[in-house]
Amino acid sequence: MDKLNIFVLEDDKLAQKVMCAHLAAHCVDLASDLKTALKKLETGKYDIGFFDLLLGPGDDYSGLKAIEAAAARGIHCVVVSSSDSDETIDRAYALGASDFYAKGNEEANVGEILRKFVQNRKAAAATDIFASAFITCDPETRAMAAEALKYAPTELPILVLGPSGTGKTSLAKILHEHSGRDGAFVSINCSAYTEDLLEAELFGYRKGAFTGAAETRKGRLLEAHRGTLFLDEIGTMSLNMQMKLLKAIEERSFYPLGSERPERSEFRIISATLEDPQALIASGRMRFDLFQRVHGYTINLKPLSRRPCDLAPLLLHFTKGRRRLSFSPEAKEFMESYAWPGNVRELKKFTDLVSGGAAGRVDLEMARKHLKGTEGPRPAAQDGELYAYALAHGLEAALEKVSGDIVARSLRENGGKKTRTMTDLKISTRLLYATLKKLGLDTEGK
């Protein structure tokens, strides 16, 4: 872990000693009263500060004043206090505290606070992931991915939804890389195995456990110890396997096939599915209790057709260091209106095809040739996607999204003519302008 500059405001000598012992790997500066604290905080050299609130007999929560001063200097403020009434907690957060812990569990808490702080700082600084590891210019996708990154250093399971080829595995890898976990990123595509094989893959087996088990093999659950287990296409898992996996997740222990000795593994789950989990549950293909275990934070990746602004940066990325391509305006228009049913994966394949062609200039004919057979209008948001969106953002936001998409499409098809759009959609001027405002579109005629 990076060496941090840490400030500790604590009047109790024994508590000071405890904090210093837990922070021994870092540069620690102590203060036991407000005056000293304010003077030291003026330097602004600290990354993170731990604050007690009541400093000695007769004190009136002077630690809060130190928090205010520290937060104003951009220091990450963590309260560690025995004063943990709701009122005190509210005051501390209002003054700029980022975390509040009751005293008495420093052994577990301090390390966790520092680990999260370092990982969150890395995640916040990692704006370049959108230009390298997870390429997107789409504001909504960026916001969702950035929000998901905040949960990367936690134990919270993450469920990534989205059609095939939208980058679910890439995002899962990035989340693991920003998790600060020591172990490996272990990925398994549940749809690629029969039930028996999936059980053997996940839990491992002992030599002779079944015909063909010529040697003992470690399962993916054990390989993911202290790391991340990425379960792709979790919706394809049989109910029987779901039950076994649920037990392993809950107990953090499991029996490899043919073994009488349980194995322990502290893995974090990230799962993905291209299907609507609620529909899977409703149709009896997914256990509700497993769903509860895997959907701590849900991120829904949009299909490429709904983020056409990503075409250019993705093309640039796929051709980096290789033959650069040029697209005619007609080819660009065609690609922007193309449905991209295979999403980013299809775009990669398309790039490979046109890169290998005779000419570096891609015209409409060539674009049509390589994207032939799947040409068509962009699909509207599918029920499953919309349902997942409503679950993540609320019904009202989902309805607004639908009306926004319809208005935007109608305007596009009518060449931006608002009167035609109002007539076609049978909507009032007021509703049109309110929708345009929500979409962030110019309401002055553009």
Binding site: D12, V18, G104
Partner: protein, 59 residues
């Protein structure tokens, strides 16, 4: 004793007990010199707890 005094006394008690608990968890990993210092501080904390409890009983 006012309500505020009472809650501050309780805060001090909880604070000292928490420090003692955390110190006890750390103790096994301390060097001999640190153990000596830690023990002295733990003794002082225990004495302070006794004093605070007496104040509470007298109130």
């Amino acid at each position: 004793m006012t309500g505020t005094d009472h809650s501050k006394l309780l805060h001090d008690l909880r604070s000292k007990c928490s420090s003692l608990k955390s110190a006890a968890e750390l103790y096994k990993d301390c060097s001999p010199a640190e153990k000596k210092e830690m023990l002295a501080l733990m003794n002082a904390a225990a004495a302070e707890i006794t004093r605070l409890l007496s104040s509470l009983a007298a109130a």
